[in-house]
Amino acid sequence: MRLASRRWPMAKGNAVLVVDDEPPIRRFLRTSLAASDYRVVEADDAANAMRLLAAEKPDLVVLDLGLPDRSGLELIAEIRKTSTVPIVVLSARHDERSKVEALDLGADDYISKPFGMAELMARLRAALRHAFQAQGELPAFVSGDLTVDLVRRHVTREGQEVKLSPKEFDLLRHLVTHAGKVLTHRHLLREVWGPAQAEEVQYLRVFIRGLRQKLEPDPTRPTHILTELGVGYRLQLPPEQRA
């Protein structure tokens, strides 16, 4: 089965819980999300968020980390006790520490304020998609000139086979299965190298550099494996799925 041919459960009618204490942000999210056929539920603090989470059972949560009554990070931990609903965090630039922390606590993705709507929509779609296909593994990933066949462990660029070391392939496979979603350094290290190596970020960089040399047309301006500075890496979705 080809990934490209599959029809994704798209946004139509999905309920999004927006948790933010700033009315202008809520207003602009409400308008934009409604325009993209999401059903929007709003909460201005953590208590309301928890109540609406139980009452409305949203498909997705957009959460601002700075809430008046308690920290957004605490809220993530609490949601994760009972629910696997995808969470996309709104965070401040330069606050890489909370971004990583939010992701480690179980958030699915983040986006730095200020952000463009297109970017947010892409993040939301990626988060939703992963929620729907969390069980099954993707057989193949096609993005531009890059093809990754996970079952046959076969990678081609512009039709040419690319030779990857076993570790490089493991890393790529992990990125592909979470395509479009940011993966923290810790997460990748733990999943690919095992818990003991979780802090050795520089190893990861060496391998990412290796992968880029082999997969990117211009390794200095990567288009597939994107760097999320201070947080981790993200495999760019194919353009048709981003839009």
Binding site: R93, H94, E96, R97, P114, S165, P166, K167, E168, W193, Q197, V201, Q202, Y203, R205, V206, F207, I208, R209, P219, T220, R221, P222, L226, T227, L229, G230
Partner: protein
């Protein structure tokens, strides 16, 4: 009716201002003990208490009088301080407890009391001054015989001199004086009834002190003194309110100070004269050649007299001169003195005929000026010194006398030799030479000794009959007599010349030392160095230990800032004395009036504009610390040091002012910049949005798209500016938390290029990264921001469509990253300045105007990461090159990489 005209005199206003914040002093003045001062004070206090005033009893002596004790009822009494002094339990007023308790009014009995040794102040009136200064009202009692200026008058009337005196100034400070008056008959009656003293004592007292005559005189004095004070109050009221009145026309009193012990009485007399005519008065001392020959005790006395005069309200002046009378007259005429007070000479008529009399000369020469010639009472001891000084004693030197004998021996030898060769009559001249030599070498007494020995030797060896002390020829008796006379005169003259030379030398030495010191301190720019040099110089010149204290930075108390030998701590007693000195601008501690129990003597370091600090000195010798000469030298050194300290702190103040001005300038630049940079994009955004909302129908799809693009660009510009401001703030507040990791340079460059996509859209960007660059230890986020700002800068300052080069290469132990543009380049003068905050190269076209923060942030971040950044121009064509250099840190453990790659 008083006519109001002019303005209040400045002095009056100053005095009134000084009064503000001070407590009020009320003195219950009595003519003699037993008139009921304490009773009256308690009565008033009770009345005040009933009015709701917070009254406490600081100290009240009831002497067991029952009516008085009854009046204490209901008043809070502050417990006395118990001092165990030499086995006696002395109970003194607890000044600190009162200051801590801070009542509105405190009762302090017997103002003239002398405190027990070891108390803060030796005298109770000093305690009272401190209470008033602290803003507490004081009621106190005083007998008229304790008033300083009346002291000798009363001693003459009663034949009893009272040792405990209070200065007149305290009466002048009093806001109120209440005379507690009792007729002599009533007082005597009370005494007889045993209401004042126990009966036997009373009987003796009545006979000696409380005679009706005495009491009447004392009573009159008390009333007159009070009347005088009331008069002054009226005057000062008139001055304050600018009421012109019948001022005494320009009376001025001058008192001549000499070393004679009677001068103290003279000064008090002058004070009374001045008070009487309500005139300012001056004490003058004329320093003549005679002064140089005075002993230290005399010189000290003169200084003390001048101080006494100052205490009594005179201004003092010392002028050098040859002739006392001439100088006094000259000063008097040039200062409009109307009355001169001078002591009657106790010298013999014979002495005056030889030396002339200052008094006679003065009376002859003064013309219009009245001269009061006062015979003062000699019985009085010299006043106590305010800072005791150590007498300098010329030590007895054995070698001088042995040497004198030696000289005589040599003269004898020569004389005998001459006698062998030729018979001359005037062998005595040889001995005279010995006397002269001795005077030059050792001074007066050894030379006198030589004169006597020579005379004996001359007689013994040369005057017939020789080898006996008898003289046969009467002519020789005469010769010998004149020999002695000449020898004594020669001794005197020579010794005087010698002592003048010695004095001159020591003066020259002092002057040279002072000069050296002032030159030394003048060259010092740092306070610490100056303090150290001061402490060292004073220690070594006076052979004392020195500490210097300056006011603490937080404004609370004093800090020991320097010392020689180094010292950084004072014990509590010394610290208290130092603080007192600082607060009151007067000497305290060892040998001074205040806190004499301290280990050190503290003196204020004063300049014309006030105190700058405190100096403390001590020395191992017991007794007073310094000789008068040393004290004078110390004063001079302290003055120098104070001026130097003030100079440096002024310079520092100037620097601070300059920094402040610079900061102000920056702040102004910041405001201008921020308001411009925030307003421009905001204006476009608001304008665009309002157009879109107001006239939606007017815009076609293309125009709409264009407006929206503007909107987004401007919002992004605003966002970048705010981000820059935040970065700058983080940088300046030190709030940046670095997360240093090994980072792939290529990865960061990629990330920055990606983020700068929009900014660089109008330019061609060429990236050239040397393969195999080592990883760098960096904070990825900060470094990306640096690169982003450099791209932004390059795009801003080079024409659209031009090329921007990014090159990264290794250069030895550095990695060099260059951003090269094709713009006009940077004026060489600006290579450094472009990294300053809010600095912008003057652009011809306004549209390039940036925030002026980008490069400043770059420098701040790069330096925080251990690298540096410089700017230059291209050599091949116009364009700027901004280069970052980062050090290469040994990379990760290479041995583990392959293992992982295949693991």
């Amino acid at each position: 009716m008083a006519e109001r005209e002019g303005r209040p005199s400045p002095e009056a206003l100053l005095a009134a201002a000084k009064q503000e914040g001070r407590g009020r002093l009320k003195i219950f003045l009595g003519a003699a003990p037993g008139v009921g001062k304490t009773y009256e004070m308690l009565l008033s206090a009770q009345a005040r208490r009933r009015d709701g005033v917070d009254v406490v009893v600081g100290i009240v002596e009831t002497h067991g009088r029952r009516e008085t004790e009854a009046l204490l009822d209901g008043l809070e009494v502050v417990a006395r301080q118990q001092d165990d002094y030499k086995g006696h339990l002395l109970a003194e007023m607890d000044l600190d407890a009162i200051l801590k308790r801070r009542p509105q009014l405190v009762l302090v009995d017997e103002l003239a009391h002398t405190n027990a040794p070891g108390s803060r102040h030796p005298k109770r009136y000093l305690d009272v001054e401190e209470l008033i200064a602290a803003g507490i009202d004081v009621f106190t009692t005083l007998n008229i015989q304790h008033v300083e200026s009346l002291n000798d008058v009363i001693a003459r009337i009663t034949r009893i001199r009272v040792r405990e005196t209070v200065p007149d100034s305290i009466l002048d400070q009093a806001d109120d004086i209440e005379v507690v008056d009792l007729s002599p008959e009533d007082l005597t009656k009370r005494l007889r009834e045993g209401k004042v003293y126990v009966p036997q004592q009373a009987e003796r007292a009545i006979r000696h002190y409380f005679s009706t005559g005495n009491l009447t005189a004392l009573r009159e004095l008390a009333l007159r003194r009070t009347a005088q004070r009331v008069d002054e109050q009226l005057l000062s009221h008139m001055r304050e309110h600018a009421i012109s009145g019948p001022w005494p026309a320009g009376e001025r009193v001058l008192v001549c100070v000499s070393e004679a012990p009677a001068t103290a009485g003279l000064i008090r007399y002058a004070r009374r004269v001045a008070d009487h005519v309500r005139a300012p008065w001056t004490a003058i001392y004329v320093e003549t050649a005679r002064t140089q020959r005075l002993g230290n005790a005399e010189r000290d006395r003169i200084a003390d007299f001048l101080r006494l005069a100052e205490r009594l309200g005179a201004s003092t002046i010392t002028i050098p001169g040859r002739n006392i009378a001439e100088e006094v007259v000259a000063y008097s005429t040039s200062n409009n003195i109307t009355q001169i007070v001078i002591g009657k000479s106790d010298r013999s008529r014979w002495f005056e005929m030889v030396h002339g009399s200052v008094v006679h000369e003065l009376v002859r020469k003064t013309g219009q000026i009245s001269v009061h010639v006062i015979s003062a009472d000699d019985s009085e001891a010299p006043p106590p010194k305010s800072v005791q000084t150590r007498p300098t004693v010329e030590p007895f030197r054995m070698e001088a006398y042995l040497g004198s004998i030696g000289f005589t021996g040599v003269a004898l030898g020569i004389g005998l030799l001459i006698k062998q060769v030729i018979a001359v009559q005037s062998i005595s001249l040889v001995f005279l030479t010995a006397v002269l030599a001795s005077a030059i070498a050792w001074g007066l007494w050894p030379s006198m000794f030589t004169a006597v020995v020579s005379m004996l030797a001359y007689n013994f060896f040369f005057l017939p009959p020789i080898y006996t002390f008898t003289i046969a020829d009467p002519e020789n008796v005469l010769a010998l007599f004149f020999f002695l006379v000449v020898a004594v005169i020669v001794s005197n003259v020579t010794a005087r010349a010698r002592s003048q030379i010695v004095t001159a030398r020591s003066r020259a030495k002092t002057t040279a030392e002072l000069y050296a010191f002032s030159r030394k301190v003048a060259g010092i720019g740092a306070v610490d160095d100056l303090l150290w040099a001061t402490a060292f110089q004073i220690s070594s010149m006076l052979n004392v230990r020195t500490v210097l204290l300056l006011p603490a930075k937080d404004g609370e108390g004093l800090d020991v800032v320097s010392g020689y030998p180094p010292e950084d701590h004072l014990d509590d007693a010394d610290m208290a004395a130092a603080r007192w000195t600082w607060e009151h601008n007067r000497a305290a501690g060892r040998g001074a009036d205040t806190l004499p129990g301290g280990k050190r003597l503290f003196l204020p370091l004063r300049t014309g504009s006030g105190s700058v600090g405190v100096i403390g000195i001590d020395r191992d010798v017991p007794g007073p610390l310094l000789t008068p000469d040393e004290r004078r030298l110390l004063d001079a050194l302290c003055d120098q040091a104070a001026v130097a300290i003030e100079r440096i702190s002024l310079a520092k103040g100037l620097d601070e002012a300059r920094v402040l001005a610079e900061t102000e300038r920056l702040r102004a630049a910041l405001l201008t910049s921020i308001s411009h940079d925030l307003r421009t994009p905001l204006a476009s955004i608001l304008g665009t949005v309002s157009s879109l909302r107001s006239f939606p129908e007017k815009y076609g799809a293309t125009e709409r798209e264009e407006l929206l693009a503007t909107l987004q660009d401007e919002a992004e510009r605003l966002n970048r500016f705010v981000a820059n401001l935040l970065d700058m703030t983080r940088l300046e507040s030190g709030a940046i938390e670095l997360k240093i990791e090994f980072i792939d340079v290529a990865e960061i460059i990629g990330s920055a290029l990606q983020r700068a996509g929009n900014v660089l859209a109008g330019h061609r960007v060429e990236v050239e990264i040397e393969p195999g660059l080592p990883m760098l230890r960096l904070d990825a986020v900060l470094f990306e921001q640096v690169l982003f700002n450099l791209f932004d800068n390059a795009a801003k300052y080079s024409p659209a469509g031009s090329r921007i080069d990014l090159r990264a290469k290794r250069d030895g132990e550095l990695v060099e990253i260059e951003v090269v543009d094709e713009g006009p380049g940077i004026p060489p003068a600006d290579f450094e300045r472009i990294f300053n905050k809010f600095y912008r190269v003057q652009a011809q076209d306004r549209r390039r105007a940036g925030t002026g923060l980008g490069l400043a942030i770059c420098r701040g971040f790069v330096e925080a990461l251990g690298g540096w950044i410089v700017a230059r121009n291209r050599r091949d064509r116009s364009g700027a090159v901004l280069t970052i250099r980062m050090p290469v840190v040994p990379e990760i453990d290479a041995a583990r990489q392959p293992a992982m790659a295949h693991g």
